[in-house]
Symmetry: C2
Subunit: 281 residues, 2 copies
Amino acid sequence: MELWFTERHSPASGITLRCKRTIYSGRSDIQRIDVIETEEFGRMLLLDGLVMATERDEFVYHEMMVHPAMNLTPASRKRILVVGGGDGGTVRELVKYPCLDNVVLCEIDPLVVEISRRYLPQLSSALADNDRVEIVFRDGQAYVRERKGEFDRIFIDSSDPIGAAEVLFSPGFYKDCYFALNNEGVLVVQSESPIYHLHIMKQVKEGLSRAGFTNIRFYTAPVPTYPGGYWSWAMGFKGIYERPSPDIVLPLEEMEKLGFFTPEVLMSSFVLPAFVKRALG
Amino acid sequence: MELWFTERHSPASGITLRCKRTIYSGRSDIQRIDVIETEEFGRMLLLDGLVMATERDEFVYHEMMVHPAMNLTPASRKRILVVGGGDGGTVRELVKYPCLDNVVLCEIDPLVVEISRRYLPQLSSALADNDRVEIVFRDGQAYVRERKGEFDRIFIDSSDPIGAAEVLFSPGFYKDCYFALNNEGVLVVQSESPIYHLHIMKQVKEGLSRAGFTNIRFYTAPVPTYPGGYWSWAMGFKGIYERPSPDIVLPLEEMEKLGFFTPEVLMSSFVLPAFVKRALG
């Protein structure tokens, strides 16, 4: 028997992966959760049937979520908030920074963390026994609304803007993030695929702008198992920066172990293709 | 009835596209040729069942094949050779240069040109009635071997290194290209996917080096319908350049109509992710 998993990236296109077996299938109050063993990309986490991460290419997504904002601008990077990201990949990258005092992971669904801890150790390694990591199981918006000027960086590591994560793409939530950041804070938002979701990138830009972020920049990287194989992130700066400048604080021994990010990638990833630049105005 | 086309990028992974209809299916002496109408990516050209180009994303591949090498280093860019590329996309980008005197398209399979002219006008527009374009239906290696110091730029716009195109990835062919270029010439080779074909990129580097190119640089761009959604090209410089510098000669009115390439993309595309950099030494 051959078992193929197919995710449609639009009604008429998708990716298809041959699978060895289903490792876990279950349902929380929030969503359906599956872990599947694929032949080509290793273990794969699915939320409501959509690919969140595969062992083989998650390094691109998680490195590019974290390291650009952590190595920019000479402000403090001690207190960090991650909203979503219950698989642990983003936190795993963050704990590589000695300058970090504390990271709060605010994940709405405890089962995602539990399943990742049990079946995806490559992703969740930093979620257990790390006294700099605090896990809060709450609705991200409610949590962020209570915090004022507390964080140096906030990372929105959400799933797609349908269902549970929709609120994490709203201007109101971005405004709450704005106030939860200190005056030199930076917000990073995963902002979907430039191939399939340019309209979402535009909404993110508009939303960040309405929330008060004066300087908004997008960057991109190739993530093979995501729609279009090409992903984007938005960065909103609360401080006034004419042009974000590198301030590399990741220790060299950690930098040398990364799969995607380099100091050169940091700046080149902000260079957008003509069609993206044009669409974002 | 739903008709889905699936291309396997490895035995256990692939892309799948819903199709409206088959526009053409035929066979030349060289290969099987199909043109399919997909819903998401428009018309699609297949050679021996593999995706060569789709109307929706071919701009990335063809712009990134041509414009980086045409806007680098202050040497002449008058006489150009394209090997392969019978669909016409590469030539279409080249004729945007007023500085170009003549481009020779050397394609082994006349049927590819015929089918592209008939069914893919978006790609083949420059193949008809252009007195700067000369089409030669010959084996690329045999043609290149006869030329000495004639070309300012050579573009190897081949299919994958199996079957007819295998020879176009051989060190012997790269050596022939070396001698067919003038002393300041540049060779551009499509060098497959960093996700699935790192070993081919290594072979290309090794082959170009053995052929005599002293400075070899790779660059990348996202091409959604190609394996891994992420593609690479190698550039071999015959002249001595410490570091290739931009020399933008594409007229501004043409630049403004491009979908992917910009002067900033030119330099950022040479910045390679850590895993690619490491693999290529």
